[in-house]
Symmetry: C2
Subunit: 157 residues, 2 copies
DNA sequence: CTTTAGTCCGACCTTATTGATCGGAGATCA
DNA sequence: TGATCTCCGATCAATAAGGTCGGACTAAAG
């Protein structure tokens, strides 16, 4: 449950790889093309291409056309959060089916729904978690995260 | 993204309803049948039945057969966590596709995967969040949850 | 200026998952 | 004994995800 899609997975891998090349010691500033990433991580080329296009459209990376073209990060690794990446690929975070109800369509359960409010709080917590973690963190900076829940009881920690 | 299924939604609603009846002031201890819940919340009867069956199989509720039958909570509302409910319906929490890799099948990306470790930490955080929240909490006790992330920056620590 | 390798982009198909349904077996109470 | 209710497996339909294809465009090299 609560699985993120493979596309999102690929996006995370690709971004980290680009960051690694771009800010690494070996060839800093080099553009990275789709093929390179696809082969390195065994990702279907065409699919990865589409993922990268989406990321570019969302302003997370810059695309450079033509031969010797490829992608570059649009911002520093500290300014790209996991939430931004995931939302760019999979759309806005919505833990329940009716988190983002559009005008007109109303959840059948809404009238007597007793779980909407608490679930939205859970959703918000998860969002904070993802939005407080940057690409930089994921690359080995300080990937340590803890949670405190005042509503916890019965579960001794 | 990160959506939980409707079945899980229904499960949460149903459990809260049962708890409300069972521990409420009006008719404490009364068993609740599927039809009652389905009508109250506009849930397809057959589907809800299956959800409740699954919950019963997982030991979260007790089923009473025959006429005047129905369901009762197996434990107190403080001893049932959201994680238990969700996992009972949707299977174990797995944020990535390869979180629970079985023997033999190996993720193609595993070899050079650079995101596995940090993602598992995220997953663990979410699990804690869900496992620290009980049915009691969701029913209006103290639905307040906060998160602290030491890896956060730009956000006051 | 022309060629050419490469990216860009949208449409398309296929498969997996979820949501929902059906029909009968077994249990309980009047 | 008969009516009512839960239990359980199998099954179908809708939706979303994973993956593919072909053409348009762009920039570097000759
Ligand atoms: S499930 Fe839609 S409002 Fe609660
Ligand atoms: S995606 Fe499978 S190990 Fe990282």
């Amino acid at each position: 449950m609560l699985k993120i899609s493979k596309k999102a997975d690929y996006a995370l891998m690709a971004l980290q790889h680009i960051a690694l090349v771009q800010f690494g010691d070996v060839t800093p500033g080099r553009v990275v093309n789709t093929k390179e990433i696809a082969e390195e991580y065994n990702i279907p080329l065409e699919l990865l291409a589409k993922v990268l296009q989406t990321l570019a459209k969302n302003g997370l990376i810059e695309s450079h056309n033509g031969p010797k073209g490829g992608y570059l990060l649009a911002r520093s690794t500290r300014q790209i959060t996991i939430a931004q990446i995931l939302e760019g690929i999979e759309g806005p975070l919505g833990i329940t089916d009716c988190s983002h109800e559009k005008e007109g369509e109303l959840c059948l359960q809404r009238e007597h729904c007793n779980i909407r409010t608490p679930l939205l709080k859970v959703q918000d917590s998860i969002y904070q978690l993802l939005n407080n973690m940057t690409l930089q963190d994921m690359m080995g900076g300080t990937p340590l995260i803890t949670i405190q829940s005042p509503s916890a009881q019965g579960v001794a920690q």
